[in-house]
């Protein structure tokens, strides 16, 4: 189970990095989505993936079997929410960029190298 998850995480990272390296803002956003998911899955995997009971105790009693660790899951939950918010913001930004430049090509957005005739601003 863990091996499978690790492989999935690896593939997600590969896909994320591949699409982030394409020169397109939409793909950049997609890559960041994949990156976030891969990270959440990695976070999930570091805590052993086993069959265990939900971390709830019967009233006044001792646990019946092995209990799941709730902490990583709450981490992931928080991370997913944050990631989702960031994604929404990123998509707005990508949309804005596309509307301003008229394409999702990074090179059309590139203002780093000013044309030689107009130095400065």
């Amino acid at each position: 189970m863990e091996t499978g998850l690790i492989l999935v995480v690896g593939m997600l990272y590969a896909a994320a990095i591949y699409s982030m390296l394409r020169r397109s803002t939409v793909r950049l956003a997609l890559g960041l989505v994949l990156l976030g998911s891969a990270t959440n899955l990695a976070l999930f995997t570091t805590n052993k993936v086993t069959r265990s009971l939900p971390p709830l105790l019967p009233k006044g009693g001792a646990p019946v079997g092995p209990l799941a660790d709730p902490v990583p899951q709450s981490f992931i939950l928080t991370a997913i929410v944050i990631n989702f918010g960031m994604l929404a913001l990123l998509l707005v930004l990508v949309h804005l960029a596309e509307r301003t430049v008229g394409s999702d090509e990074m090179k059309h957005l590139n203002t780093e190298v000013p044309p030689p005739s107009a130095p400065g601003e």
């Binding site: 981490f75 960031m86 913001l89």
Partner: protein, 494 residues
């Protein structure tokens, strides 16, 4: 009265929420932001006083015990940083009132600044790595929007770069947290500090340490992770850049100061040389980048990288004297850098450009601006009698005492280069014959006021350097005294 610990987060957050509800006119929003940042500064001063007298303050949010619940803790370094952030926030709000247009002020500017302040203060006060992640994200979201507000093409590109790098950093941070949790079984800083030395998997802990170094280095813009900063900091309104340089990169540095002495002091053989290497290269790369720049804001952005190098050098040396010097340097540097950005804004207002080649002759027409530029510039370069001199000298002396000749040599050389750069700026802006005679007024009092305050602060910290050094020394002592922090955070049951 430990509830006071939550106030530095609560005040700006509440004010931001109220601010968004107010009618979108400049006046009420500005007044609210002023009141909130002033209150934040006052609370932070009170907090620093309490921590100074009574030691580390801890608040267990909701009454849950430490390793499980959310814990806020303030030692001297946290309290100093909260106070510094509050002061800078206040000055930036005053400066915004002078430098932004009414339309911008009526928009989301002030609420965003306040949300960012809340995130920054939360990062300073949290005693838990996962909460640090959450505060980081809060602060980053606000900074993304501040950067992207009314963005035109150049700013959109900067924002995309900044956001991509930040999100990458967040992903790395989560992985580091996953590793640490797998190794230590906790993310509470004090709890981790107790568990890490006895871990069965030191390589994983080292991997986590290196990942954290990368993440915080990215936020702090230290050398191999620094190139996003000059690519994005030159585009927003100058007050936003000043705020970012005063707060955002410093949160990264703070996270390094918080985590490394506490968590990874058992493995200095690996982390210290790496940090020192990052520090030396940051100083060099930043300053060489700044030498060739003729765009004033980019030049100052590169300067941020080289100054962050000094702070990291203090961390890398990791002796009490070095840490104390770095903390003192930190305070001085935040003041000096913000002052320089503020003056840059006024210069842009006068000349209508931030390209050095198009400025000139201001020493005759605007002598006050010249004076206001000169004080932080000389302070940044480490000239007596300003605050920078003592801080830099203490840092170099600590490096010499630790027999790190290379670090001390590079520190001194970079100081000289910084002086050279600022002389270059001085010559271009103030002495050269101006290319065009378009000279506006110096800008309103709300713009010059913060510059004056900061200049006076730098002179004050230079002539009366002793209290700052006593405070930094005590803060450094607390950083190295792991047991007290652990005991304070975990409570009586340890």
């Amino acid at each position: 009265m430990k509830n006071v610990l939550i106030l530095p987060v609560l005040i700006p957050l509440a004010a931001a929420a109220i601010g968004l509800l107010l009618p979108s006119r400049a006046g009420p929003r500005r007044a609210l932001a002023l009141a909130a940042t002033a209150a934040l500064t006052a609370v932070a001063a009170g907090l620093l006083h309490t921590v100074w007298r009574e030691g580390v303050q801890v608040l267990r949010v909701g009454g849950w015990e430490a390793p499980v619940g959310i814990t806020l803790a303030a030692d001297l370094l946290s309290a100093m940083m909260v106070l510094l952030s509050g002061t800078m926030g206040l000055l930036c709000v005053v400066y915004s009132a002078g430098s932004l247009e009414e339309r911008q002020e009526a928009g989301a500017h002030y609420p965003l600044v306040l949300v960012m302040l809340a995130g920054v203060c939360g990062s300073f006060l949290t005693a838990d790595l996962f909460n640090l992640f959450v505060w980081f994200e809060l602060m980053l979201v606000a900074s993304f929007v501040l950067l992207a507000l009314e963005a035109e093409r150049e700013r959109l590109e900067a924002c995309l770069k900044y956001m991509t790098l930040s999100l990458l950093g967040s992903a790395l941070f989560l992985i580091a947290l996953a590793l640490l949790y797998a190794v230590g079984g906790s993310l509470n800083l004090a709890d981790l500090a107790m568990r890490l030395p006895g871990t069965k998997q030191p390589p994983l802990a080292t991997a986590a340490a290196m990942l954290l170094l990368a993440v915080f280095g990215l936020k702090a813009a230290a050398f191999p992770f620094s190139f996003w900063l000059p690519a994005s900091y030159h585009t927003p309104p100058v007050v936003v850049t000043a705020l970012f340089s005063a707060l955002l990169t410093k949160v990264g540095v703070y996270a390094l100061f918080r985590t490394f002495p506490l968590l990874f002091s058992g493995d200095p053989g690996l982390t210290q040389p790496v940090i020192l290497g990052m520090a030396v290269l940051s100083m060099l790369v930043g300053v060489t980048g700044a030498v060739v720049q003729y765009d004033l804001r980019r030049l100052l952005s590169f300067e941020i990288i080289s100054q962050v190098g000094y702070l990291l050098a203090g961390l890398g040396l990791s002796t009490r004297a070095a840490l104390a010097a770095a903390i003192a340097y930190w305070v001085h540097y935040v003041c000096a850098k913000s002052a320089l950005f503020f003056v840059t804004g006024a210069l842009e207002r006068v000349t209508g450009t931030h390209h050095l080649g198009k400025m000139g002759g201001l020493s005759r027409t605007h002598p006050l601006l010249g004076l206001l530029f000169l004080v932080p510039a000389l302070s940044l370069a480490g000239m007596p009698p300003f605050s920078g001199f003592f801080a830099k000298m203490a840092l170099l002396r600590a490096a010499l005492r630790a027999e790190m000749w290379g670090v001390a040599g590079v520190g001194a050389a970079v100081g000289l280069l910084t002086l050279y750069i600022l002389i270059k700026v001085w010559r271009e802006v103030f002495w050269k014959t101006p290319p065009q005679e378009a000279q506006g007024p110096s800008g309103p009092a709300a713009m010059l006021g913060p510059c004056v305050v900061l200049a006076l602060l730098m002179v004050g910290l230079g002539l009366g350097a002793r209290p700052l050094f006593v405070l930094s020394d005590a803060a450094a002592g607390q950083l190295l005294d792991r047991d007290t922090y652990i005991h304070a955070v975990l409570g009586g049951d340890t």
